[in-house]
Symmetry: D2
Subunit: 424 residues, 4 copies
């Protein structure tokens, strides 16, 4: 299914008066308006191919209908999102769930939807039916060199797929770790992982980046070998200049100050990218911005400040991806909400008066520092994001139009009620 | 120091055009505008007498200047706040830090500032110089009946002061608990506490409420005898209809769903009141709304819904108090920020479309439920709160006027640079 | 597979000298030796039918071989455990995973293995293929009465099965809750759940108990309708004298003082039973005693003290069950380790000098209180537990004999390498 | 007060039969007995000078009697402990609380008690009466160079004191951080801290070590500039080979895997030392081993394995210190309990069968790995520790003798009931 442009135009036209009035009010107090709008237009968040179906927990999964069953249908789904919000112009593939049969056909399909191929993702946390060795006790950390070899080769294969599609980065999330004290020699596990990653690193083209993801726990419940930002940074530093740390918002211990981690990684030139989601308890993978929107804003506040300090391009110099599960929502609606929340946080971060903030910090005027941040956060920036998406060809209210056009009903008609997308 | 009304008027006049334009925009989309404004005018948050000085930690305290040294000066400080925001028209006294010498004089001073006396607070977590028995091992839970007796009598004395001043509630926060496994017989500690509270309860006038506060930990680090809402509710139910649970936002284990607790306590008719603050790690006692403003909104969302369901008066039927410490901010500025954050969260909760929410809940439209809540939260309600405070005689921007009038500099001139207010 | 008694005897005989020497040393310092041994002999921990296969996470499952495919094989597996340790003489069934086809045959098979039927467990957290309504948005809390009806009827059916088998309790674990703010009316969800449970309660025979389990989060990640002990107790009190709270060690927020909860529930006469496991982060479902053995001891310390205070029979008056998952261990070995850890903690708790402890508590001698508890905990009670199991006909070292007899290899030979037991 | 040797001998003689029987049983199963005993004899844990008085919280302090009022009395107190357990032969001084007036006299007093001077500790988390600049907004991170300068000079002065006394390490714990979002530029704060530490580093003699301590939160409640091991390691690596990370058990986010951190720091050659204590919620500073004794053992398991892998001397190559507060216990009794718990964990770690563990790890025999660790942990090693302390001239049961000799009563007689030691 594709949404015809005229339907979007009709919808926008219908809401144009209301939007204009809101936009004008919002725009009036933004000094660098054009710059803000352009940045919002440029900013694109990659959609992971595994997030287009209903997710589940170990206790079960309650699938919805019309889920994409093929890579082509997944691209179509991301295309749908992008046509509505013009902010999700990339897809992040997961191997082996999304092995392309025909690169040219896939690339041309994506191009047709205005999509790029973001980071490719390897999978050594599950056993595949035809696999020689099991990852039950880890992959790149494994005590057995043959298992490590298999994991390395899988990653090299993933890189090969990525090259064909035009990706320029590899995300390595290792679930490797242990469930019980004594199970693992922590030091050897780290060293084995490093050696394995070195081989993968060597196989990456020069213009590629490796994103080394970390996670505090799950699916291992005693230790994770790349368990926090410190371990990831240590790994990335040992690997070399193409290796970076990837931050997933749900991968921390309770109460971690993620924005500080982000700032320091940027300071070190070692932040690679982001996996957006939200959580209350652990890696809950909820809709971005649904639980802690202020934290999301504070992270963007550091991202904007830290990237500007290094003269980085917001849209291109880091990898921006969603990584969520949608157990009780329509996945596409969930993704529209996530993208909107990210855009709002980014817009608010762009509104922060950085000169005033630096001055207030310099005199330890803590009250004023808070006022400056909260002034941006309390501003209703929805009209600004809407205007940017409008200018880029999207719908002024993507979710509303999605419902109005009965997209899900159409997808169910096309694909059936019982399809289950690959993923978690 | 008192702020002359004409200075507030001048200030408001100066900002009137800007405010009007913002207010009109905000008001345009509020259907029940008058009702919302009136509720905002009526809503009053009590200021605790111990929050007017700089707070500290066990590692030290960095005092500021011009802190109030007497009860009279504390009332004056709250009066200052109230004259600016018209939303903090009550003071909550702590005994023995604020024992009034002359009730009539104190009452007339408070009245002069438009202040009421909210809940009185007892203190059995510290030893006073002239005290017979020590609370080192607890007060109302103590193994020694004489210590419990002393704690009970102190509370009865606090009630007596409260009656004289016109308070109608007693807040009992017990730090009682244990630091090490084995130290305490949990069951006896609970029973002793219950028996002690029963004596205090019996001494309360019929129109009084007892607020039974709970706290997960600190200053005891293994167990707290009234440690969570379940223990407080159990206690309150055993005590009788005048006993209620008091919720302090900082007194929970990590990730607790406070809004659900609030909803259930309202359902049971056993929510008594609130201690507002914010925190990231434990009982950090930070400015309300400075860390998790969305959580604050979600709590108010439950408060409004739950009180309306019981036909309760928002302003009068629960006790609303701030309980924070201000280690690195001017206490009065901090309190202005806290009150504003509370008013904003309350205003947003008033804007929630409850009919639509109930409908969406009824059909499990989770996406829409989230949209409805976030629509209210993302709305910039600052002009609405400002308008309410303006109508009530306050300043359109209390913090800005506070600074413009150099209130702190005046207080330092009056009271000196080295005064230290009683409190923590 | 069944283990012939003579093999156990041979094994014990072989180790008898070593065991005797250790036992004599351990026994020498136990004053009430016979009593302790008898209590250890009597104490039985039920094995849940779903814990006999390899568990998994949402990221995958790495199955082992020889898993039981039928209820008969599950009973056989528990029988194996019980023949080795004589401490796991009960099985807890889960419906619909273990619906018996022929009650008499099943009962007689269980009797043959010396097993009783402990609590039966209902399942309304998953959809079954033939089910009319989905539990995607809850079961007993559901906004739709028809869904609640279905959940109630399922529970009534579970009771019927239980009656036939001789069970006398029903464990109700409700995963009901919400993933996003706004999704649920907390109060209605609680009321709906209460009404549903009332119907189930009414269907229980008079000699039955209902165990109302609580859990902080997962599979719902914003709220759980019976989320903590306070909510469970509130529910149980409203239901009536046959309803009790069930404590699962992994179902709490970080740092919760579980032993205090246990003590208070015993004080209220409302503790029903236990689900044993261990965890470091969330509901990790690790081997009992593998992460926090001291906490396990402290819990047993409260259990022994609290039950004795009410004159309860340790073995019979509460429900004792394991509820764990075994993602990287042989499930039967894991269960042997869990049972041993529970027996050790119980034995240590029986050694606590309660008179001395009460005296030390009475004079606030915190140092001595700690010494008394740690003296019991630091005592090596393994020989005592071994002696008790020996006297009851078990093996002096169950795990060692399990390996020596190559039980798993035998099971794989019997059942095949690729069987997957029902469960999580 | 000093304990005459003959009293210790008498005490030991009295208990010798009982001890011998227990020791012989314990020794029988230890293969490398002499090695284990010698290591236990050699192992010394430094006592911090600030831990000799009763600690408190922000809510108050309940002092005990007989606390040491001078540096001399503090040395005497540590001497007392050391004469009893022969395992606490070092004192760690805190400047400015313990500025020596006469180095020679102090050194000779310490020598008389058999004590060495361990790491010296600086204090830039409090303002001293005569101090020019305030540390309210940080010290080495401060936006004002003059404040940083003052903090650096204080540290250099501390080094000077340490040199005179024979210390060879400096512990830098920086409470620097922020309480509110926006207050701090995280990157500048880190850079300022680094520059300040570089100056201190340059002032250290070549044979000195700098211990860079980290802490998640408190007294700052939003961010801490050296907040976790990753930030400390980053700092230490930038500083140079004399800089190391110091681990305090209470300075982590909930559920952190501290033993893994320890292993990795050892792997990197960057672990400097330890601050022992225990906690349930945050930095509770409870008696070591009182809450999580198994975690303590797991940490020592990594310490022994990791140090052995690098050929390090257990007793000398890392700094071992207690850092606890004693709010409800006699400080000296608390310290005796802490030292014992540390010695027990160390002894258990020495008993781990490392060859068998390595083999089990190599074949992923998780069950056996756990058995091996728990076999060591479940062994009652108290007789081994007692024997080692006995051989070194101490008492077979230090705490019992402490009470029997009425040490505290004597100290109160000597020093009075109302003395308050400097510290927290």
């Amino acid at each position: 299914m594709q949404i015809e442009k005229y339907k979007i135009d009709e919808f926008n036209h219908h809401l144009s008066k209301e939007h204009s009035s809101r936009y004008e009010f919002a725009a009036a107090s933004v000094s660098n308006l054009d710059d803000v709008l352009q940045k919002l237009v440029d900013f694109q968040i990659a959609i992971p191919s595994w997030a287009l179906g209903t997710g589940g927990t170990r206790f079960g999964r309650f699938s919805g209908g019309g889920e994409p069953g093929t890579l082509e249908e997944k691209i179509e789904d991301v295309g749908l999102l992008h046509s509505l919000n013009r902010s999700s112009g990339a897809i992040s593939l997961h191997i082996p769930w999304d092995i392309p049969q025909n690169y040219q056909a896939i690339k041309s399909l994506a191009a047709q939807h205005g999509l790029k191929f973001d980071a490719v993702n390897s999978n050594t946390f599950q056993d595949q039916p035809d696999q020689q060795y099991s990852y039950k006790f880890g992959s790149m950390q494994h005590v057995d060199k043959a298992v490590r070899r298999q994991a390395v080769e899988h990653n090299i294969e993933v890189i090969r797929h990525g090259i064909e599609l035009g990706s320029e980065s590899l995300t390595v999330w290792l679930s490797d770790g242990s469930c019980f004290p004594g199970q693992l020699n922590f030091r050897k596990a780290f060293q084995n992982t490093l050696e394995s990653l070195e081989e993968v690193y060597a196989a990456m083209p020069d213009n590629w980046k490796m994103y080394v993801e970390y996670k505090a726990f799950e699916p291992n419940f005693y230790s994770t070998t790349i368990g926090d930002w410190g371990q990831s940074l240590l790994m990335a530093n040992k690997l070399g200049p193409k290796a970076y740390t990837l931050v997933d918002l749900g991968h921390h211990l309770p109460n971690a100050n993620i924005e500080q981690i982000v700032a320091l990684l940027l300071m070190e030139g070692k932040l690679g990218g982001f996996h957006f989601n939200d959580s209350k308890y652990s890696d809950d993978d909820l809709t971005t911005g649904s639980i802690k929107p202020y934290q999301l804003f504070l992270i963007f506040n550091e991202l904007v400040a830290g990237m500007d300090a290094r003269g980085m391009n917001h849209a291109k110099d880091l990898g921006w991806m969603i990584d969520a599960a949608h157990n009780v929502k329509d996945p596409l609606e969930d993704l529209l909400q996530s993208v909107e929340a990210i855009m709002l946080a980014y817009a608010q971060a762009l509104l922060v008066d950085r000169t005033a903030l630096a001055e207030a910090q310099q005199v330890n005027d803590v009250v004023r520092c808070q006022e400056i941040l909260q002034d941006a956060f309390r501003t209703d920036v929805r009209p600004l994001v809407a205007e940017a998406q409008l200018r880029a060809g999207g719908a002024v209210r993507p979710l509303q139009l999605y419902r109005q056009l009965k997209v899900r009903e159409n997808l169910i008609r096309e694909r059936g009620l019982k399809t289950v997308a690959s993923g978690l």
